[in-house]
């Protein structure tokens, strides 16, 4: 009876774990003892695990991850530095909003990835092209979330600061900044996904190193276990970052905020 209660208490995590483990076991079992599949077409978890071990111990994947993260971090930081002030400015100055909003909305709604071939031809296959691509994709979530955050700032707080003789600077630092913080986390979550898209596309298209290049090279050479391992690494990273930020979002602002990804 007690066991039954315990089960119902933790039903979700138990069922989730069971289904994930079951999925991998079934996959392994089907390919080893039920059907034989062309190894150039599909591989199985045990081989992927062996390949992952090889990649990590051999150090090959660290090099690729380092190259990709460097481009990602540069582009992402530039997006933060440019995006947040732009968004705050748009939210605080009505005329700036009128002027910039249609242009930015058009850019945010359109698949800017289409510019990737051009950027890579202009900036080369090295770091710069990827940084520009990541920046272009990641800057708009920051702009629009900072904008929405400022728009939702409590007018009362602004008036209080004003009444007590606060300057424009005080309003920015004491009211606007704290109130846009949760929006920034939401923006970062969306921007991370878009930034990874930028890295991947840049490296698929033209690169000689990086995690995206690794995935496409393993694909081209039919090394499926390595390819699955690299995909898995990227998936784990993406889940850790986005779910981590979602948790942070729930802590900072339990109500639902921010703009959804487009």
């Amino acid at each position: 009876m007690a066991l039954r209660d315990r089960y119902y208490e933790h039903q979700r995590p138990i069922l989730g774990t069971v289904s994930v483990i079951g999925f991998f076991l079934l996959w392994e079992w089907l390919l080893t003892s039920v059907v034989t599949v062309d190894p150039f077409f599909l591989t199985q978890p045990s081989k992927v695990a062996a390949a992952a071990k090889e990649l990590f111990l051999g150090g090959a994947i660290w090099q690729d991850l380092a190259v990709s993260s460097k481009a990602f971090l540069w582009g992402f930081s530039a997006a933060v530095i440019v995006g947040i002030p732009t968004g705050v400015f748009m939210g605080w100055r009505r005329r700036a909003e009128y002027t910039l909003d249609p242009f930015f909305t058009a850019l945010y709604a359109s698949p800017l990835v289409a510019l990737a071939p051009l950027l890579i031809i202009i900036f080369g296959v090295g770091l710069t092209g990827k940084v520009v691509l990541v920046f272009l994709l990641a800057v708009f979530p920051f702009i629009f979330n900072a904008f929405a955050g400022v728009k939702s700032t409590d007018r009362l707080l602004v008036n209080v600061v004003r009444s007590f003789g606060g300057k424009e600077k005080d309003i920015y630092w004491k009211v606007i900044l704290p109130s846009i913080l949760p929006y920034m986390v939401a923006g970062a979550r969306i921007a991370i996904g878009r930034g990874i898209v930028g890295i991947i596309v840049g490296e698929f298209y033209a690169a000689s190193e990086g995690i995206g290049f690794a995935i496409s090279r393993f694909g081209d050479t039919y090394r499926l276990p390595e390819m699955f391992a690299a995909i898995l690494v990227l998936m784990i990273l993406a889940v850790v970052f986005t779910e981590g930020l979602r948790k942070l979002e729930n802590v900072l602002a339990p109500w639902k905020i921010g703009q959804e990804a487009r």
Binding site: P111, F204, Y205, G212
Partner: protein, 266 residues
Amino acid sequence: MRALANFYREREPAILGGGFILSLILAWQSVPSLVSLPQGISLFFTTPVEVIKAFHQLVVQNQIQSHFYVSAVEFIVGLALAILVGLPLGLVMGRSKILDAMLDPFVTAFNATPRLIFLPLLILWFGIGIWSKITIVFVGAVFPLLINTYEGVKNVDRVLVNVVRSFGANEWQTMKTVVLPNSVPYIVVGLRLAIGRALLGVVVGEFFAASRGLGYMIANAATNYKVDVVFVGVTIFMGLSLILTYFVKKLESRLSRWRPETAKNF
């Protein structure tokens, strides 16, 4: 003068917003006549007039139409498949606790990951024909649809469900009369997100593995330094996503007009 000022004040957002975009285009157009570009940069430079000329030429040569047709087929078939799979799965996951708990880890993991990383694998499986693009569009678009449908089902008013249940409705009837109509606004939001992902899939899929389609046109033009053709393609994609987003947003505001107050104030 007063009339002019009034005219401006009434339409300030439109004038400022439109004026900004127009002046950007004009500034872009006038760059070559103001500064002489060095050889290295002029190779990558084009002007809006050149882009329009290139567009006209491509239309005359019937190239745009054939590329557009391929991309449109990939987009529509992929999105349709995503709707066919995402909607029912979202509904079922929203109604069944056990299925929800079992599928949630997979949905979360795939949703957090940009699905474009599966492109090399999909090319390996489906070749460089139309099906690899349809599947990349599908995996891109299915998760926003599934998750938003799920959210819609989860946010259904419990009272309404209990009422139809009390009157003896079975699961299918509950779904049809209460759950589905209540989730429609959420589904439309999912559709808007899905359209964006689907376009992304078309563009990137055609970059790497295609011999036709607008994405292929862009990538091919870039390798041949035909920058004006690149911008023709980029502009078409921008225009398409703006038009599609506009219509879905219209639908969104239309559908959510009746919702919250009437539901809560009875």
